[in-house]
Symmetry: C2
Subunit: 454 residues, 2 copies
C-alpha cells in the first residue's frame, strides 16, 4: 500500500518547522510584551458548543467525531432517517474564539478581568482545499475580554505593526467600525438590513461594486437607498479626509457618529503611545463576515510587490456580547487572529526565510565515525561537547563511507564536522572542518568548544 | 445553557501553560542537544493508516471523523447494516509512532538517514477516562530510524537521565531486550508462544506472579514450561548479577545470547560516554505491550517517596521493521516517548513546580490607571518600557478602584506596579511598588527600566 494523508492536511518537515516556529515565536513574544498570557483548549468540543455559532455555512464545515464505541445498528435506522445527532456529539475546533468564550464562561470565577489571553492552536474546517486554504491550519489569537477601553484597540494595532515589521512583510492595516456601517444602513433608510448590507459590502474586493449593488437590490434595498451609498464606493483620500466625509454623511445617525468617535479615540490613543502608523487605512467598505462584531474591525493585507497573495493575513474586532451565548452576558471584548499558514506561504513566496537567515535547530557539530576504536574515543568528546551546551551528534555507523557521512552533515545543515582518526587520538588535536568554506584546522577540544560556543 | 467540554479533555489555564511549557522546553532542549530535529504530522490520518496498527483493542479506541458533507441517507441503511466505513474514512492520531512511520515512507527521498526526529503533539484515544488517563494527551517522542547502531540506545538512556534530572524527579530506568524474552520462550520450549508470554509478563506489576502463571497456562503453556520460568520471577541483584544469571539460563538460545550481548554493548557505550547510570535496572520481566519491538526496550517509573504514581512515565524500544507496513521494509529504528501529562501530574503531586520557581510568562510591570490625563501620560511610558524589551501593561480602565487594579496585578503575579499620578507627571519621578514586599520607591523611568531589565 502507498500511504497518504487526508486532503487539505500537511506534514511539516524539519526545515518547515524551523520557519513555522520562527513565526509562532515572533507573535508569542509580542503578545507577551503586551501582557497577554497563554491558554489552550481541547481539540474536541461538544457539538452543542460549536453548532449555530458560525452560521449555516460554518455548521456544514464542522468536522464531527463519531461517538466512540458506536456500532451503527440497523434497528435504529430501520424505517427512519439516521440523524447525525445520533452518531456524533463532539466536533473539532473550528476557530479559537468560540472555545475561548466557552472557556471564559466556565472559568469565570478563576479569571481576574480584564483577561488578556493568547492562544496558538490548530483548527479544522471541512472546506474545499485550494491554494492557501487548508483543512487543518493554525490560528494565533489574542483577546482582551472584560473591558471596553479603546486602549486595547490601539494596542492591537501596535501589535500588528510590530509583528509584521519583525517578519519583514509590508502590509496595509485596514480599520473600520461596525457602528459606522450601522450608521450607513440608518441614513440610507435600511437600519433593518444591516446584516445584508455588511455581507454584501464584505464581498466588494472579490466581486466588485456592480455585483455588490445587485446583491443589495436583490436583498430588498430600494434603488434610491443603493444610490445613496454611492459616495462610499467613491470615498478616497487619507484617514482625516475620510473621517470628515463620514461626519457629514452620517450627521443624522447617532450610532454612526459614535463609530466615528470611537475610531478617532483609537487614533488618539495611538498618538498618546507616541506612534503613527503610516500603513493604517480607514476602509469604509471593510465589513468582516462575522456577525458578532459591534465596534472596531481590523483586517491586514499584504502590500508588497514581491507577493501575489490578495487575501487577508489577519482579522479581528470588538464584540460586545460573545459570552452571552454561553450564559455570561454583557462582557465586551476585542481580539485579533493571525493566519499563520497564510503568512508562511507569503514569506515563502517572498523568499523572506532565506533573507532572515534563520538558524536551523540542528546540531552545531557532527563527529565523523572512522571505526570501532575511534568511535569509543569520540563518545567521550561528544559527551563533553554536550555538557558545554553544544548541540552535537556522532554519525552512528562507522561502516558508512566518509562521503556519506559528509553528505549527511550537509543535508542536515550542520556547520562543522570533527574528524577523529588515529592521529587525532594520539595527539589530542582534533581536525575540525567548516562545511561552508571546506577549510580544515587542528584544534584541541577546549578550543573547539570555545569556537562553537560563540 | 451551561457549557462543558467532552469528558477526558482539559482546558489549560495560564499558570498550567507555564508549567507545561517548562516540561516541553526541557525535553525539547535535550532532544536538540542530541541532534534531533522536529517534525509535525496532521491530527487527522486516513483510517487505512491507523487501523490494524494498535491491535484489536486499539482499533476500538480510535476516534473516527464523520465524512464531511455526509448526509446519512435512509436509502443506504434500509434493510442492511450501515458500516462505519461508509461514514468515516479519517481518524484522529492515536500515537506519534505510526504517523512517523507513514511520514518516513512518504518522505523517504527527502530524508538523509539515519533520521533523528522528535515530535511533540497531542494524541486521542477513546479510553475510559480516569485519574491520570485522558482522551486527549500529549506525547513527546524521539526516534532514530535507519541505523542499527546501539549508540542510539545508549544516547536515549542519557537523554532520559538528563530530562528527569532537569525536572528533579527521581526515577528508575528499566531496560530489557525482546531477544532475551524470545530466548526465554525458546528455552522453556515455547518459541511459538512469544507474544502470549510477552503479553502475560507485561502484566506482572498489575496482577502479580500467580495470575501471570495462570494466564500462561490458560494460553497453552505446559506446567513444566511455566515451572522453568520460576527463576525469572526470583531474579534479584544488580545488573551484572542478572546478566550472569541470564547467560546460564539462556546458554542454549542463540537469540537469547544475542539479546544479552546487545544489552552489554549498550552498557559499554554508556561507559565510553563516561557515564554510569546508577538508576538503570535490568528488569527481565519488562515486556512492553507493543508487538513491533525487536531489541532493547525501555520503561521509566517514578521512584520517589513524594509520589504515589505507580504507572510508567516513559516507554520505548527498538523495532526492526516499523515502516514495512507502509511498503518500506528493513529499516531499523529505536525511539522513546515521554508521557508529559503524567509527568505533569507527578510534578504537581510532588510540589516540584513551586520548588522550581518557574517565572510566569506575564508582565513584569503593571501601570496603574488613575484617570484620563494620567492614562495619556502613562501610554508613552508604557511604550518606552516595551521598547526596552520589558513585558508591560496598563490597567485599561481608569474608572476601576485602585484596590481592584492591585488585586489584578496580584492574581496575574505581576511583580511590580508603577503608580503615575499628578505628582509623578510633574516631577517625572515615578512611584514603583514591589508587590512581594509592599515597598514603594520613587525612580526615574530610566532607573525603572534598568531595575526591571535585570
Amino acid at each position: 500500500m502507498k500511504p497518504s494523508i487526508p486532503k487539505g492536511t500537511r506534514d511539516f518537515s524539519p526545515s518547515e518547522m524551523v520557519r513555522r516556529n520562527f513565526i509562532f515565536n515572533t507573535i508569542k513574544k509580542v503578545y507577551e510584551r503586551y501582557g497577554f498570557v497563554q491558554i489552550e483548549t481541547p481539540a474536541m468540543e461538544n457539538l452543542s458548543t460549536l453548532e449555530g455559532k458560525y452560521g449555516e455555512e460554518g455548521d456544514k464545515l464542522l468536522f464531527r467525531i463519531l461517538n466512540s464505541g458506536e456500532v451503527v445498528q440497523d434497528s435504529k435506522s430501520k424505517g427512519e432517517n439516521l440523524k447525525i445527532s445520533d452518531l456524533a456529539e463532539k466536533g473539532l475546533r473550528y476557530d479559537l474564539t468560540v472555545p475561548f468564550a466557552r472557556y471564559v464562561v466556565m472559568h469565570q470565577n478563576e479569571i481576574s478581568f480584564p483577561f488578556k489571553r493568547y492562544q496558538m492552536q490548530p483548527v479544522w474546517r471541512a472546506d474545499r482545499p485550494q491554494k492557501g486554504r487548508y483543512r487543518e491550519f493554525y490560528q494565533c489569537d489574542a483577546d482582551v475580554i472584560g473591558s471596553t477601553s479603546l486602549i486595547s484597540e490601539a494596542e492591537f494595532l501596535l501589535i500588528i505593526q510590530e509583528v509584521f515589521s519583525s517578519l519583514q512583510i509590508d502590509v496595509a492595516i485596514k480599520i473600520n467600525n461596525r457602528k459606522i456601517l450601522a450608521g450607513i444602513a440608518e441614513v440610507i433608510g435600511h437600519a433593518d438590513k444591516i446584516i445584508d448590507i455588511t455581507v454584501a459590502i464584505d464581498k466588494l474586493d472579490k466581486i466588485g461594486e456592480q455585483k455588490v449593488k445587485e446583491e443589495l437590490l436583490a436583498k430588498g434595498l430600494s434603488p434610491d437607498a443603493v444610490n445613496k451609498m454611492q459616495p462610499l464606493f467613491e470615498s478616497r483620500g487619507d484617514f482625516e479626509t475620510k473621517l470628515n466625509f463620514l461626519k457629514t454623511f452620517l450627521a443624522e445617525s447617532s450610532i454612526g457618529l459614535k463609530g466615528i468617535e470611537e475610531t478617532e479615540n483609537v487614533i488618539s490613543y495611538l498618538n498618546a503611545f507616541g506612534k503613527q502608523l503610516k500603513n493604517l487605512e480607514l476602509d469604509i467598505t471593510l465589513a468582516r463576515g462575522l456577525n458578532y462584531y459591534t465596534g472596531s474591525i481590523f483586517e491586514v493585507k499584504v502590500n508588497d510587490s514581491r507577493s501575489t497573495f490578495s487575501g487577508s493575513v489577519l482579522g479581528g474586532g470588538r464584540y460586545d456580547d460573545l459570552t452571552g451565548i454561553f450564559g455570561l452576558p454583557n462582557v465586551s471584548g476585542v481580539g485579533i487572529s493571525f493566519g499563520i499558514d497564510r503568512i508562511y506561504d507569503v514569506m515563502l513566496e517572498m523568499n523572506l526565510f532565506d533573507q532572515l537567515k534563520l538558524s536551523e535547530t540542528t546540531s552545531q557539530v557532527l563527529l565523523a565515525n572512522f571505526g570501532r576504536e575511534e568511535e569509543q574515543f569520540s563518545l567521550k568528546i561528544l559527551n563533553e561537547l554536550r555538557q558545554a551546551g553544544i548541540n552535537a551528534e556522532i554519525f552512528p555507523e562507522y561502516s558508512a563511507k566518509m562521503k556519506k557521512q559528509m553528505s549527511y552533515a550537509d543535508s542536515k545543515k550542520i556547520p562543522f564536522v570533527v574528524l577523529i582518526g588515529k592521529d587525532e587520538m594520539q595527539s589530542g588535536s582534533l581536525t575540525i572542518k567548516d562545511m561552508a568554506t571546506g577549510q580544515q584546522e587542528k584544534l584541541t577540544l577546549s578550543k573547539i568548544i570555545s569556537k562553537l560556543s560563540k
